[in-house]
């Protein structure tokens, strides 16, 4: 499918927003479920893009920038794969191969992020000089330049894919044999686990593992929606916190050893 000039400009604009958010992590325009929907909205292919966004969001649930670590780049993965999906013109049928394309893109985005963050080091040195002068305006300006650079990090690749055009993208997608695309979508079903594993590794302590077991067992009851499970989880967390406090004060208050006969014997 070919896009007109206005659509292309809007796509690049959405890509710019997603790039900014990729570093800011505030409005979350870069989260696949939002970013893909926006691309779908401006190109008029809303439904397939929303489905792609949902699938990618599942994969990217656990991708977060923690501390100085850089997560795989959800922004480039979402934007570029959505553009490829739209250009490929296969609609819903193209979603699974778009997912497979998204993952190498997330890696490429990771490298671009590291590059951008290194360039930002130069920018803060310029800001240091502005600080010496006491110039608020220059700090503002360089902060904006730094953010714009992060926006370009996604906008430029998006523009490049648009420049290559629908033809090559389509022939590339058609060149993929079915055993490969089917296999990739099976792999895509499992890839989600990596994000969850990252989150569990961050949170797991001996104390909270029993809750993992409870969650896994209760999830087998398909009538319980995620919201219902959330309710149970909140209730259990509150009960646990309150009970653990009571236990604490109980131990502090009672001076006994928990062995009344032993206490009596000790007193003699």
């Amino acid at each position: 499918m070919n896009l007109n000039a206005i659509q292309m400009i809007l796509v690049v604009l959405v890509a710019f927003l997603a790039g900014m958010e990729g570093i800011l992590d505030e409005f979350h325009f870069h989260q696949p479920v939002v970013a893909c929907a926006l691309i779908g909205l401006v190109t008029g292919q809303l439904v397939p893009c929303i489905i792609l966004g949902g699938s990618l969001q599942m994969i990217a649930l656990g991708w977060s920038n923690v501390g100085a670590a850089v997560a795989p780049d959800a922004a480039l993965a979402a934007i570029a794969s959505a553009i490829i999906l739209v250009l490929g013109g296969q609609g819903r049928a193209g979603v699974s191969s778009a997912i497979a394309i998204a993952v190498p893109l997330a890696v490429a985005g990771l490298l671009l992020t590291i590059l951008a963050r290194t360039i930002a080091t130069l920018i803060v040195h310029i800001m240091d000089r502005a600080a010496e002068e006491g110039s608020f305006a220059k700090i503002d300006m360089w902060q904006m330049i730094a953010i714009a650079m992060q926006g370009l990090r996604i906008a430029i690749p998006a523009a490049l894919i648009l420049a290559v055009g629908a033809g090559p993208v389509k022939s590339m997608l058609n060149a993929m044999p079915t055993w490969l695309t089917d296999g990739l979508s099976i792999g895509g079903g499992m890839v989600v686990a990596v994000g969850y594993a990252m989150v569990i590794n961050m949170m797991a302590t001996r104390e909270v593992w029993p809750f993992f077991v409870l969650g896994f067992v209760l999830a087998a009851i398909s009538e319980l929606t995620l919201i219902a499970l959330g309710g149970i989880g909140v209730a259990m967390a509150l009960i646990y916190l309150n009970l653990s406090k009571m236990g604490g004060s109980g131990n502090g208050g009672g001076s006994g050893t928990g062995d009344p006969v032993g206490d009596i014997i000790d007193k003699y």
Binding site: I23, E26, H28, Q31, V33, A37, V47, P48, I50, G53, Q57, M58, L61, G62, A106, T118, A120, T121, V124, D128, A131, G134, F136, I139, W142, Q143, M144, A146, I147, W179, D182, G183, I186, G187, G189, M190, V191, V192, A193, V194, Y196, A197, M198, V199, I200, N201, M203, F211, V213, G215, F216, A219, A220, L226, L229, I232, G233, M236, A237, L241
Partner: protein, 304 residues
């Protein structure tokens, strides 16, 4: 004392808005420092008027700073309160301000990461994604609206809390509340995650047939004996509802056997394998590629 400079609510709203761009100049040297200075500018502008004071203020806020971007807000609040007192002549030196910033950013990041990145984001994201998978526009809208209302409200109220409490908040937060929030979030997260694993990690061994048994007569729909046309369709549906099998042969796949143990077992095993690999410092990207390769190979072999 009559001419004390106070930060107005509008100043604080400006700072709050600017703190949205905290990570804009994130860099490997001093991380969020540029964005931090940028966020505080409306306050510094009001509090300091001479060029020397302004330069000194900017320089002390270009020091290293890094925390979770949302929980930076209470720290910004406290810092504004300290700067306000300082500009009015209180003996607060650079070391105190930097000390408060550094002292708060570690423990607060320890709250922000589990609460926002590991609990709120996976849960809201999974909910939105499950709607989006059905092609519903409600998915993206739900995610965007819920996330941003939560974030903006959190940032504004904690910034105000920090500003009003001033330096007292440091002691307040290091107490039990902070630990309770962190622990509560990890309990909720650890409870929800296995449900997400079970429902959204797809590992399907259906192509592997463990057994194929010919069923007794009357246990399956005998397609040859159905009346013709629409009547036949109706009869077939009635029989199926009565519990009759569609095929003459009862096929049990490897997947059926696994589901009888507990649904989602294979997904859980894959997740544990990923956790183990991550602990072995294998890059998540390689694990993702590995799983794609595994999927293709298993599919070609006819196992998945």
């Amino acid at each position: 004392m009559a001419d004390q400079i106070k930060l107005s609510k509008s100043d604080r709203i400006h700072v709050w808005w600017r703190s949205t761009f905290l990570q804009g100049s994130w860099n490997y040297e001093r991380m969020q420092n540029g964005g931090w200075a940028y966020s505080l500018i409306p306050a510094l502008k009001k509090l300091y008027t001479t060029k020397e004071d302004r330069a000194a203020a900017l320089k002390r806020h270009m020091e290293f700073f890094n925390t979770h971007p949302y929980v930076a807000s209470p720290i910004i609040g406290v810092t504004m309160a300290l700067e306000e007192e300082r500009s009015n002549g209180a003996p607060i030196d650079d070391v105190t301000i930097q000390g408060v910033k550094v002292g708060m950013m570690g423990p607060l990041a320890g709250v922000g990461d589990p609460v926002f990145w590991f609990t709120a984001k996976p849960i809201i994201g999974a909910l939105a994604a499950s709607l989006a998978l059905g092609g519903s526009i409600m998915g993206p809208i739900l995610y965007f609206v819920v996330w941003n209302i939560m974030r903006m409200a959190f940032m504004w109220y904690t910034q105000e809390l920090g500003y009003k409490a001033g330096s007292a908040i440091t002691e307040d937060l290091s107490g039990g509340i902070l630990q309770d929030i962190t622990k509560g979030a990890s309990i909720l997260g650890m409870f929800i995650l296995p449900a997400l694993i079970e429902r959204w990690v797809n590992v399907d061994f259906s192509p592997v047939k463990v057994s194929s048994i010919k069923q007794a007569k009357g246990a399956y729909i005998d397609w040859d004996k159905l009346p013709a046309g629409a009547k036949g369709v109706k009869e077939a549906l009635v029989q199926q509802k009565a519990g009759l099998s569609l095929d003459k042969y009862k096929v049990t796949t490897l997947q059926d056997n696994l589901n009888q143990l507990i649904p989602g077992l294979a997904a859980l095993i894959i997740t544990f394998l990923c956790m183990w690999l991550l602990k072995k410092k294998v890059s998540p990207i390689w694990i993702i590629f590995g799983l794609f390769a595994f999927g293709v190979i298993m599919h070609v072999l006819g196992v998945m």
